[in-house]
């Protein structure tokens, strides 16, 4: 039997044994869920266009128009409900039918006012008050409306790749976290495999048939391939979900970063094992095999 065939045989056994190992399958599922959650949860939990229910005591067409205008500018939606008196409005707030009620110059809330809704109501109130005061001093309402129709500030980014870089940073952070976890996990699997063969004493049977370095090489290669496959599954699943939910603006960048993560896994795995006790033992075994036990 050629040494490569022996090494591959050992590697295949390692892969098959791990694929039947519930601990390995659970750890893969855990990593996958963790990556998907960290990529998608911020998006799913952030409501970009919130909707608010707000009560108004009496009828105030100007205020209603101003609130709708401010809400539209902020990217939110406000549904205004009219109440006959302040008690009815307060009762609606207490029963959580509405989030806030406007009573003249007061805003009634149960405990706290959402910051976006607060900005919308304050801006609307200020706009109505300013319009009234300008009309009172004799300015034509049409001119007032024209003067107050100020477009929002245009955002000019000096760093054209700022958004892209932020996305890269997030993907790189997730990739490094997965890389770090998998490198530690795979190193542990190799060490545990060596300990298991030693403690179950099967190593005596194995070493009567194959050389120590072949056994360790098969173990390292098998578990390394498994780790690589695990990383690929996590990367592909994470990226697919991120693209599907429109989390990443430039998929090409994300794919490039993930490719780098996979490349670093190969290098990191080799370095981790080379500097680990089994790795040192492997090198020592290769050097001394012929002299010590394998004529």
């Amino acid at each position: 039997m050629k040494p490569a065939a022996v090494v591959w045989l050992v590697a295949r056994r390692e892969i098959a044994a791990k694929l039947r190992d519930k601990g390995f399958l659970l750890s893969t599922a855990f990593i996958l869920v963790a990556v998907l959650a960290s990529a998608l949860l911020p998006v799913l939990l952030t409501d970009d266009s919130p909707t608010y229910d707000v009560g108004v005591v009496g009828v105030d067409a100007e205020l209603e128009a101003a609130v709708q205008a401010q809400a539209e500018a902020a990217g939110a939606a406000v549904e205004l409900r009219s109440y006959d008196d302040v008690d009815a409005a307060r009762a609606a707030v207490e029963s959580e039918e509405i989030e806030a009620a406007i009573d003249g110059e007061q805003v009634v809330v149960d405990s706290a006012l959402d910051s976006m809704l607060e900005r919308i109501l304050n801006a609307a109130s200020a706009a109505v008050a300013a319009e009234q005061r300008l009309v009172e001093v004799g300015i034509d309402p049409a001119e007032v409306a024209q003067a107050l129709a100020v477009p929002p500030l245009e955002l000019v980014r000096l760093d054209a790749d700022a958004e892209r870089n932020a996305q890269r940073q997030v993907i790189a952070f997730l990739g490094v976290a997965v890389l770090y976890g998998l490198l530690i996990l795979m190193g542990q699997y190799v060490a545990m495999g060596v300990v298991e063969e030693k403690s179950s004493r099967v190593v005596e049977l194995l070493l009567s048939t194959i050389k120590p370095w072949q056994l360790l090489a098969g173990k390292v290669i098998g578990l390394g391939l498994l780790g690589l496959a695990q990383l690929l599954v996590v990367c592909v699943a994470g990226l697919s979900a991120a693209i599907a939910f429109d989390v990443v603006a430039v998929p090409g960048d994300a794919i490039g970063t993930m490719a780098q993560v996979i490349g670093w896994f190969v290098l990191g795995y080799a370095f981790t094992l080379r500097s680990s006790p089994p790795g040192r033992r492997w090198c020592r075994a290769r050097r001394t095999c012929r002299a010590s036990c394998c004529p």
Binding site: M1, V6, L9, R13, A16, A17, R20, D21, E196, E197, S200, R201, V202, V203, E204, L205, L206, L207, S208, T209, I210, K211, S292, C293, C294, P295
Partner: protein, 312 residues
Amino acid sequence: MRSFEGAHRAISYCGGVLEFDSVTKSYGGNVVLDDLSFAVQPGQMFGFCGANGAGKTTTMRIALGLVRADRGEVRWNGRTVDLEIRRRIGYMPEERGLYPKMRALDQLSYFGMLHGMSNSAARQAAAEWIDRLGVEQRTGDALEKLSLGNQQRVQLAAALVHEPELLILDEPFSGLDPVGVDVLAEALAARCRAGVPVVFSSHQLDLVERLCDSVGIISGGRLVAHGSVSDLRQREGKRQLRVVAPDAPAGWAARLPGVHVLSEQGPEVLLELDDPARDQEVLAAAQRTGRVLHFSWRAPTLTELFREAIAA
């Protein structure tokens, strides 16, 4: 008991000779094996006996390349045993060990392939040996879920699955129930009939006596007795004379010159003679006391030979 004819048919070679030639091994100043030499012939079942620490396991581990001898070598058919030859050896270590979470069929296939079998041939052989050795298991059971006796049978199957040309087994009968002993003994006998030399160590000397064609007794790293069981008995057996003389007075034999009484139970005495040629004088002395119902040289058991050999 199951038939081993399938295994018998599968062997097409005639077997070879295993030789230990002046094998010496020391750990520090402690000499474990001292110029050990013996050979096991094709189809011979060789029982390797010795007290704990006598060097049996070290001898076997040297043959399997797990320990390097300081001097001497182990040869198979005249060629120094190397990795290629070791792949054709079936080995059962003293410290049993298989993968606990792997199914018996899978790990027997794995060991078969490590010994050079193809995947399909290894799986077929593994299934056959599981059946032949009567391993009781449910499909899909990991090894750790089997009883200890069944695990022991799987361990034996791991040594046999690749149809080895030579079997080296360290304490194979240890821990087996009587049925297991019979199954294993029949399996080994089938291999011997196929021309495979079988070397096994055991403290169960009655088993060794019953099964082995040849026996080696090792003590202090040296082979102190070696040969077929009948030869050893023949060589050592003339020393003990069994006489049954019901009319003889107690102590009658002790008075004879050159005669030592080993035991006396009623009319039966067991004697040792300084000169075996003087047995007829003992017979005459017994007849002078009256009737002689029994007079014979008694063949010692292997246990007695063993005790005598390691005490020498």
